[in-house]
Amino acid sequence: MNMPSSDSKELQRQRTRAVRTAWALAGLAVVIFVVFILSGVMSQ
């Protein structure tokens, strides 16, 4: 089944936004991990 081009463009836009969301969340997870370890190191 072929997708109408407008739906295809919207899908592409959705995926671009999704990748941006994913990077932001991954960054958040890394920041939590790093800050957590650093707080332990600095309190030593």
Binding site: M1, M3, P4, D7, E10, L11, Q14, R15, R17, A18, V19, T21, A22, L25, A26, L28, A29, V30, I32, F33, F36, I37, G40, Q44
Partner: protein, 545 residues
């Protein structure tokens, strides 16, 4: 927005049946980026881990059938209690919910697939290797972890070389969970069909969105804590080593900052599944949809500020005890809202009692028992008596077995006809339910009495006064364990042997986008966005009056 009707989408779905599905076994399962295939892989993996963790539970209950040492050495018993918990939590329940999320979320929000399909593949395939590594420690010279799933130092630091494998396995599970959660959030926030606003989403999607945020917030904390354990063990640091100026109690705070939200990570999706099933078999819309969403968010928020109720006995200031006691009790309010709404949904509904509904009703009743014993444990002064006894074991097993696992079974029976295109055997489903529901109470209810009488947890031997209740509990355990083989049999029969075709809607009272797709659904769920209206939205309040 597409002007296609629900029927057109169903027709498209049938047309699409034979398209784009990889033909080779490896292409289909190893390299797959399809949300349904990955969902299936997660579910198969979690069922396997459920049986492995269940076998460990059988060893534990066999040893505890009588006082004295009968079958296994004490150290192996401790390894079994530790590995049973790690396997069930990280290998069975959490991956099972990710499997449900993979299968259902794109179909429920009108998306063609998950937002990040390649990462989806990677996040699954990390799991089997993580568990191979974890389980392999049982065969190493120093044995598997034996200090409990909480990995408290200094006990966990006294383990042998295999501890490094345990830490690395936890890291891999954490990475897998975080990637899965990122995918869920990215999908829900970006891939919804036009018109599928946040407050029109099915409850299962809402509960998973909140669960995913919980996971992203707390899994890095666990990863950090076990990394510190690793460096304490192998690189001479003293984060938690009192002899070097560290603080072992700090680990407990950190662990439970992760550990308490972890409980809700396992239970919130269960709330979502039950909130889908009860309206279907009551033939009524969910009572108080918006209240359910806010209650879920409230529970998630509160789960971050209650962690120290797990460790009242370490000694803390009175104000600390009072804060954690009252904040824990506060969770009963949004949880009570949920139970009230489920009961109100059933009230005067045209109820029928197919297997998914039976498991859901049992969930509501038995999870509430687990919640009530949790309230007892929240009372700081009383907890000094109950702490580390079988009362705690009874409490969290009521929350997780007739809670999370019954909801997993309810969801499996509910969506299995949609997934496979065939009906399961209702007769055997009900036999599975009644055996499970009776035996799970025989298994866990006596453990309340054992705990109140003072039997400590995580011991292979016990005083003879505890014998009767332990025997009853073990018999319940053996029956419950055997009953789950029926569950496996029902699934295999449905997938390979059942001749009864499932309709697209499957259940008379079912509402939601997944039910307008064919049974089984097409390989790619919605290539064009489906219409969002009163017949396709599961719960939105605006459509319910």
């Amino acid at each position: 927005m597409s002007s296609k009707t629900s029927h057109d989408h169903a027709v498209d779905a049938h047309d699409d049946h034979h398209d784009h599905k990889p033909s080779g076994f490896l292409d289909r399962w190893l390299f797959t980026t399809n949300h349904k295939d990955i969902g299936t892989l997660y579910l198969i993996f979690s069922l396997t881990m459920f049986l492995v963790g269940g076998a460990m539970a059988m060893i534990i209950r066999a040893e505890l059938f009588m006082p004295g040492l009968q079958l296994v050495e004490p150290d192996f018993f401790n390894q079994m209690t530790t590995m049973h918990a790690l396997t069930m939590i990280f290998g069975a329940v959490m991956p099972a919910w990710v499997g449900f999320a993979n299968w259902m979320i794109p179909m429920m929000i009108g998306a063609p697939d998950m937002a990040l399909p390649r990462m989806n593949n990677w996040s699954f395939w990390i799991m089997p290797f993580a568990f191979l590594m974890l389980l392999s420690t049982l065969f190493m010279e120093s044995g598997g972890p034996a200090g409990g799933w909480t990995l408290y130092p200094p006990l966990s630091l006294q383990g042998g070389q295999s501890f490094a494998f345990v830490v690395f396995a936890v890291h891999m599970m954490g990475i897998s969970s975080i990637m899965g959660s990122i995918n869920v959030v990215a999908t829900i926030l970006n891939m919804r069909a036009p018109g599928m606003t946040l407050l029109r989403m099915p409850m299962f999607v809402w509960t998973w969105l909140i669960t995913a945020f919980l996971l992203i917030a707390v899994m890095p904390v666990l990863a950090g804590a076990v990394t510190m354990l690793l460096t304490d063990h192998f690189f001479g640091t003293s984060f938690f080593n009192a002899a070097g100026g560290g603080d072992p109690i700090m680990f407990q705070h950190i662990f439970w900052f992760f550990g308490h939200p972890e409980v809700y990570i396992m239970v919130l999706p269960a709330f979502g599944v039950v909130s889908e099933i009860i309206p279907t078999f009551s033939r009524k819309p969910l009572f108080g949809y918006a209240a359910m969403v806010y209650a879920t968010a409230s529970i998630a928020f509160l789960s971050f500020i209650v962690w120290a109720h797990h460790m009242f006995t370490v000694g803390m200031p009175l104000t600390g005890e009072l804060f954690f006691m009252y904040s824990t009790m506060l969770i009963a309010v949004p949880t009570g809202v949920k139970v009230f709404n489920w009961v109100s949904t059933m009230w005067r509904g045209a109820m029928t009692f197919e297997t998914p509904m039976l498991f859901s009703i049992a969930f509501v009743v038995l999870f509430t028992i687990g919640g009530l014993s949790g309230l007892m444990l929240a009372i700081a002064s009383v907890d000094l008596q109950y702490h580390d006894t079988y009362f705690v074991v009874a409490h969290f097993h009521y929350v997780l077995v007739p809670g999370a696992i019954f909801a997993l079974m309810a969801g499996t029976y509910y969506w299995l006809p949609k997934w496979t295109g065939h009906m399961y055997s209702e007769r055997w489903g009900k036999i599975h339910f009644w055996l499970s529901a009776i035996s799970v109470n025989v298994l866990f209810f006596p453990q309340h009495y054992l705990g109140l009488a003072g039997m400590p947890r995580r011991i292979p031997d016990y005083s003879v006064q505890f014998t009767d209740f332990n025997m009853i509990s073990s018999i319940g355990g053996f029956v419950f364990g055997a009953s789950q083989l029926i569950f496996v049999g029902v699934i295999l029969h449905c997938v390979y042997k059942s001749r009864q075709k499932a309709t697209d809607q499957v259940w008379e009272g079912a509402r939601g986008l997944e039910w307008i797709l064919s049974s089984p659904p097409p390989y790619h769920s919605f290539n064009t966005p489906p219409p969002i209206n009163s017949s396709t939205v599961a719960h939105a309040d605006e459509y319910q009056h």
